[in-house]
């Protein structure tokens, strides 16, 4: 078997180590005996999207986003839309996630059009949302699983009716720091603010993308399980660490409805008043109980 991975604009959109995601997709395919070919596509180059199985685009600076947006007007944009409707797997991080949306509204109210693949809109914010993020995602079906990463954005993204969130924020800001959602999913497209890189320490998401790509090309397949000891250790350590740091960086913490039970949890009462560390730790503990501790995150992989 073979997967063709297309890294879009690696020279312009690679702001925060996002290429780790491409490394992860490649390695996890190769470890299973699936050949992975990565091609880079740059500004002004024609792309035959039907030749690819997974697309990836990372974060970039504002002026680079503008260049790319222009590049996608016309034919290239229509071909991409077609590929997405056809079920191509696509991971877009941060700036790329914003770019896939309908528009980006600047501070002066000017609307810069996006590619329009995702029914989301982004508005410039004054405050930069920076820090560790933990979210609980139901993307893989079954019980929610955690994703952990690092966010750094000032744009606030709001979801439209045609997308669903990637997950709910347990710790950090997420899409806009208001509604508790993080990321957006449409068909097999995942947009998220999570850097980190996100895939290495959240291997279930990497495998979800690989599985979607294989399914589309070869029909129903099952992924062979891998030894994810190191991945799991890094994932768990990052969550615990994020909880500890939340106190130092005053990251907002949400502890409601993380387990996806539909019931709103009682806010956790700290004995020492409103001690943010206690709240952060409590939130992480809730996530922990709901997802990590009970059934380790790797267990559902390969089903």
């Amino acid at each position: 078997m073979r997967l063709a991975i297309c890294h879009l604009y690696p020279d312009l959109m690679n702001l925060y180590g996002d290429r780790g995601n491409v490394i992860t997709l490649t390695r996890r395919s190769e470890w299973r005996g699936i050949r992975a070919d990565v091609s880079a596509v740059g500004l002004g180059e024609d792309v035959d999207f039907t030749a690819y199985d997974i697309l990836f685009m990372g974060g970039g600076q504002d002026k680079e986003q503008k260049l790319i947006c222009e590049d996608f007007q016309g034919l290239k944009g229509r071909a991409l839309t077609q590929a997405v409707e056809d079920g191509i797997a696509f991971l877009a991080i941060c700036g790329a996630y914003q770019l896939l949306g309908r528009y980006y509204e600047t501070g002066c109210g000017e609307r810069l059009p996006g590619i329009g693949l995702l029914d989301v809109e982004t508005r410039a914010g004054k405050k930069r949302m920076i820090g560790n993020v933990v979210i609980a995602s139901e993307l893989g079906g079954g019980r929610p699983r955690t994703l952990v990463g690092f966010e750094n954005h000032s744009g606030r993204t709001y979801l439209g009716a045609r997308v669903r969130p990637l997950g709910r924020v347990c710790l950090g800001y997420g899409n806009n720091g208001e509604d508790g959602f993080e990321g957006a999913v449409y068909r097999n497209v995942v947009g998220t603010y999570l850097h980190g890189s996100v895939l290495p320490k959240n291997p279930w998401l990497a495998d979800w993308l690989i599985a979607r790509a294989l399914e589309r090309r070869y029909g129903p397949t099952s992924l062979a399980p891998l030894d994810d000891g190191l991945e799991r250790a890094a994932h768990d350590a990052a969550i615990i660490h994020a909880g500890r740091l939340a106190r130092l960086y005053r990251t907002p913490v949400r502890s409601r409805d993380i387990a996806g039970t539909g019931r709103r949890r009682q806010p956790v009462r700290a004995t020492a008043g409103d001690d943010p560390e206690h709240k952060a730790n409590a939130a992480v503990a809730v996530v922990w109980r709901a997802t990590v501790a009970g059934q380790t995150m790797g267990k559902e992989d390969g089903k």
Binding site: D11, L12, N14, L15, Y16, G17, D18, R19, G20, I23, T24, R27, G42, L43, Q61, D62, K63, E64, L67, R128, I130, G131, N132, F150, N152, S154, H195, G196, S197, P200, K201, L230, E231, A233, A234, A237, A238, H241, L245, Y249
Partner: protein
């Protein structure tokens, strides 16, 4: 009166923080600035020869060390923030420390300054000279984006209003562009030796677009990352002619790098920089450029640079009885790549080496660690026979171990030991007698490791004595 009070309070804080073992970097300055906010301006005015400020992402500390050696040899008395505390309180601390030693005003202030506070530092110190080394991605979580960092430095340079000299790294398009339309004396330094470069950019790229028209720049040669000889295909922008250049670069020494300096005077001179790697050739050039602009005879500056001691944590050797530690600070992908290729040495040298790699994510390290995915650990994995083993340590040791796994290093050669002192014991125990342990820590991990090492009676703590 207020000045005296500020100095007194700062002194007290200095003594206290030393006693607590913190090395007294920025707390005394913070205290003194609280009492006398104009401290820097006031002291800056008393300097006979004025201030020299070094900014940029990488190489500030080493460049400052090399330049300090040249200034001191020229008989000038210095105040220098040599511990690398480069925010405003750190600068004030350096003045305080100097004042405690000798209340007579020194001749020159040599200050390395963080890019984000550069405009503020220029406003306070009114420097007679500025050096800009390079711009790489570093701690973006703190500054937002690279463009923001560059614009800070631009504002600072504009605030100089044509007074004093500016030495710019011509090989970095982001730095060279700052010289456009800049008033005052501008000198450009760079490397002119295609043998030490590559045709293709192999490592992380920062900025390859023309800053005028946005087109991708053409490169005749890349020296490392986006440093090289470049031009815009539309003719809008190209590497400025080099005023001061390094040719015939020799990088094979483990203890230093050599090059021929052209443009410094009527004759070409052979220069030895006492720290290895191409990036230190740039640091040597930057220091020489500043020394020449300050009127120091070039021959003397060259010999001072050769005799300078390596800076704190930037590639230093520490003897541990019958073993040795070679410690090199790492803080961003480009620096890490340079350190790795220097530590791994020539491809023919396959002696297996032990590494202790420490990754912390405290504020001074940068809280976002995603940059490790831009480090070319793949090149290290490709030289697997030269790697006996790597112990990943620090607050984010697990992620570093994971990075090494995905780089293709065999799992058997990777261990994860979060505690730095345990990691040090374990790796030192693995190094054979007479061997070297290669240690690559981020900033706070380096401070912690130095504490561990000095508690065991090795390596002086950094405020003790001048090197």
């Amino acid at each position: 009166m207020r000045d005296l009070l500020a100095v007194w309070a700062g002194k007290a804080a200095l003594g206290l923080s030393r006693r607590l073992g913190h090395g007294g970097s920025s707390l005394p300055g913070k205290v003194a600035l609280r009492i006398q906010p104009d401290l820097l301006t006031a002291y800056g005015k008393k300097l006979r020869r004025g201030s020299v400020v070094i900014t940029g992402t990488n190489g500030k500390t080493t460049t400052a060390r090399l330049l300090a050696s040249a200034l001191r040899d020229a008989g000038l008395r210095l105040v220098h923030n040599r511990s690398g505390a480069n925010l405003i309180p750190g600068l004030a601390s350096a003045f305080l420390e100097q004042f405690v030693e000798n209340p007579a005003p020194p001749d020159v202030a040599l200050m390395e300054v963080d890019e984000a506070v550069f405009p503020d530092a220029v406003g306070r110190l009114r420097p007679v000279g500025v050096v800009v080394t390079n711009f790489f991605r570093d701690q973006l979580d703190r500054y937002g984006e690279l463009d923001t960092t560059v614009s800070h430095v631009r504002r600072g340079l504009e605030a100089m209003a044509g007074e004093g000299f500016v030495a710019l790294n011509a090989d970095d398009p982001l730095v060279a562009y700052l010289g456009r339309g800049l008033r005052g004396r501008v000198t450009y330094y760079g490397v002119d030796d295609v043998r030490v470069g590559t045709k293709e950019m192999t490592q992380t790229r920062e900025q390859r677009q023309c800053l005028v028209c946005g087109r991708i720049l053409d490169y005749d040669v890349f020296y490392y990352s986006h440093l090289g000889d470049y031009r815009c295909p539309g003719g809008d922008f190209s590497r400025p002619p080099l005023t001061l250049k390094a040719t015939d670069v020799a990088l094979d020494g483990a203890l230093g790098a050599d090059f021929t300096l052209r443009g410094g005077g009527p004759r070409d001179l052979r220069v030895t920089v006492p720290v290895p790697g191409l990036y230190n050739v740039y640091n040597g050039l930057a220091a020489l450029a500043a020394a020449i602009m300050l009127g120091i005879p070039v021959e003397r500056a060259v010999s001072s640079v050769a005799e300078a001691a390596p800076s704190f944590g930037r590639m230093e050797r520490i003897a541990m009885d019958d073993r040795e530690i070679l410690m090199a600070l790492v803080k961003n992908p480009t620096g890490y790549n340079q350190v790795l290729s220097t530590l791994l040495g020539q491809a023919s040298d396959a002696r297996p080496r032990w590494f202790l790699m420490a990754l912390n994510d405290k504020y001074a390290d940068g809280t976002d660690i995603s940059w490790i995915w831009d480090v070319d650990f793949e090149a290290m994995a490709a030289r697997e026979s030269a790697v006996a083993g790597v112990v990943a340590s620090g607050t984010r040791s697990h992620e570093l171990a994971l990075r090494l796994k995905y780089a293709g290093l065999p799992a058997a050669k990777i261990a994860c030991v979060p505690s730095l002192s345990e990691a040090l014991d374990r790796t030192l125990g693995s190094v054979p007698t007479g061997g070297t342990l290669y240690v690559t820590p981020t900033y706070t991990a380096m401070l912690e490791l130095r504490n561990v090492i000095s508690r065991r009676g090795y390596a002086p703590q950094f405020w003790e004595g001048e090197v």
